[in-house]
Symmetry: C2
Subunit: 349 residues, 2 copies
């Protein structure tokens, strides 16, 4: 696509293609499973989206569910626009230092892809990824309006990341996931992966459990031309819109190769009911993180008119809670091995 | 007990006896089920508690679980004390107008009983109740310390309530639950039930779903001698410590008669897998309320050193989430009947 195409259009085109590629890859892996359900929606306040959702129809009268590779999955694209009132701008400035101090309401544009994959097999990890682009502009002039153009750009940034949440630790899976993502990062600056790996460990953390949600990956936000609180000014990292977008595309394109080989080699591992139980307990922790701490989820739940079904698409089909469960506490077990690595994040590559 | 016994002792004795009575009632109802597990614990920063928890051991290799009446339940008593730093006092003053403006740290005392019962049968409702007493005092003088007495009382209040969360609506159950609680309230002032019923509908509400958690009951907080934001000054309600404690005891004593007859008549209702599925979806909503909105849970999760297992005891054994589930949306179904009453709270008595 020519470089004079506006960034919002280029991002929109990219995330729709990435959504198709990702959904296609899962459908090809399990051709006998029901296809993802494509669900296009319109946001009444401006914009639209498409949710692609995998679920297995409920089995009546206790019949065992069809043995699909995935249990529940959602790959969601949204491209929305509207007006940010001053209190929302103020709140946003806390996280995004590139936003100037503006006293009036301004137009915004946001485009993103967000996905969570919960496989059925307890030995196959859950994965999450999310890439997004945000713009704040001046109100368009009459001429800009007539030409169908947005107003002058005030601030823009990219954010995103991806992380892996296994119930059972396979070190080679963790290494493969991190290695693939690191390679995608390194091509765009040597400081990206170490900075975003650390940020991911800090972000996907459940304080009340004293443990990470999973074995990490990368997380970043507020990436733009301005100075960034997590980078030195001379850090090796992309700064221009084109260079940052190129990095985001590399990270997005790395999703399928980072995860699919892991899913392929774990999805048919024989498993026991006790392993399923542990998987469901881990899914309970996933629910705790998403509902109590995840900024995107919290922001979404507080936003009047938000599309709740898309926001909560990330939740697992089934989760379990036990009081003082002994699982994960008995030394030398595979469950305790996971708990240990969640309490002490490791360098995988 | 003689009236010159300090309130904190009287409350402590009452909630321990109530815990025994409630747990005993459930154990008597289902004598073949495993007994509640009694779990006494010490709070390192001061105080202690006892959790009584019901759970069914996990069935290995897919054997059907034993058909107990309860699926998961917790009845927790805690009696704790410590020091409230100025920021905590400030935060507390927002909800408790009886607390004066204090600049220094002060001792606090809190005693409460909290319970959640999740029965197995989809036709039997989940129930929650909680009664608590709170004191803030001056630092004890040397003489008070020597006599083992707390410092002079600065503020005190009672709080509590109980609410019913069915998956299937049985109007006679809702009427029985509210009637029993209303009778317990009315003996202590005609304004209690109407005020606390409304407060309950407002509190147990899930804004992002636009629906109540269940069919309500009562909820109250900050009940003391001072004027109260929900009562006119001449309202018919108890004001002295003795009168408020008498009301709280009536409400606590009403728990078993308000709920057990409902559980007895629903616990053996034949049910289908589709009804179980709906029950698990409703439990997902219960999790959403407790993790996202419940003040006690949120406060607990943010408190360093809090006993997480006791705080999250309220979560169900299993919960389920579906994207855009059709259950509850199809007119004229029993599921839609529940959804409707959750969207428009009713006067039951």
């Amino acid at each position: 696509m020519a470089d004079d195409v506006p960034m919002r259009k280029r991002v929109e085109e990219y995330i729709h293609k990435l959504q198709d590629d990702i959904v296609g890859a899962f459908e090809k892996l399990d051709p006998n499973a029901p296809p993802f359900k494509r669900d296009s929606w319109i946001r009444p306040q401006g914009g639209a989206g498409r949710s692609c959702v995998f679920a297995v129809p409920f089995s009546p009268e206790g019949a065992p569910p069809p043995q699909t590779i995935l249990e529940k999955a959602g790959v969601n694209v949204s491209v929305v626009h509207g007006t940010l009132p001053p209190p929302a701008i103020k709140q946003m400035r806390a996280d995004h230092s590139s936003i100037p101090d503006i006293a009036n309401s301004v137009p915004f544009f946001a485009a993103g892809i967000s996905l969570v994959i919960h496989p059925r097999n307890p030995h196959a990890p859950t994965v999450h990824a999310n890439y997004r682009y945000f713009e704040i502009t001046q109100e368009p002039t009459e001429e800009e309006k007539a030409a169908g153009k947005p107003g002058e750009l005030i601030a823009w940034w990219f954010g995103g990341g991806g992380d892996l949440t296994p119930s059972y630790l396979y070190e080679e899976d963790a290494v493969h996931f991190h290695r693939t993502i690191k390679d995608a990062c390194d091509a765009h600056g040597a400081d990206l992966y170490p900075t975003f790996k650390k940020w991911c460990d800090e972000y996907f953390f459940i304080p009340h459990r004293g443990e990470a949600r999973g074995i990490g990956g990368i997380f970043f936000d507020d990436l733009c031309e301005e100075s960034h609180k997590r980078f030195a000014d001379d850090a090796k990292r992309p700064k221009s819109p084109d260079d940052i977008f190129a990095f985001v595309k590399s990270a997005g394109d790395a999703f399928v190769p980072s995860y699919l080989p892991i899913l392929e080699r774990r999805c048919r591992t024989p498993s026991t009911e006790a392993e399923r139980r542990w998987q469901l307990l881990r899914r309970g922790r996933y629910v705790e993180f998403n509902l109590v701490y995840d900024r995107g989820t919290k922001f979404g739940l507080m936003t009047p008119g938000a599309r709740i079904e898309s926001i909560l698409m990330s939740l697992p089909e089934t989760a379990r809670w036990e009081y003082m469960s002994e699982l994960g506490t008995e030394a030398e077990t595979r469950e305790a091995q996971l708990t240990e690595v969640l309490k002490t994040p490791r360098a995988w590559v």
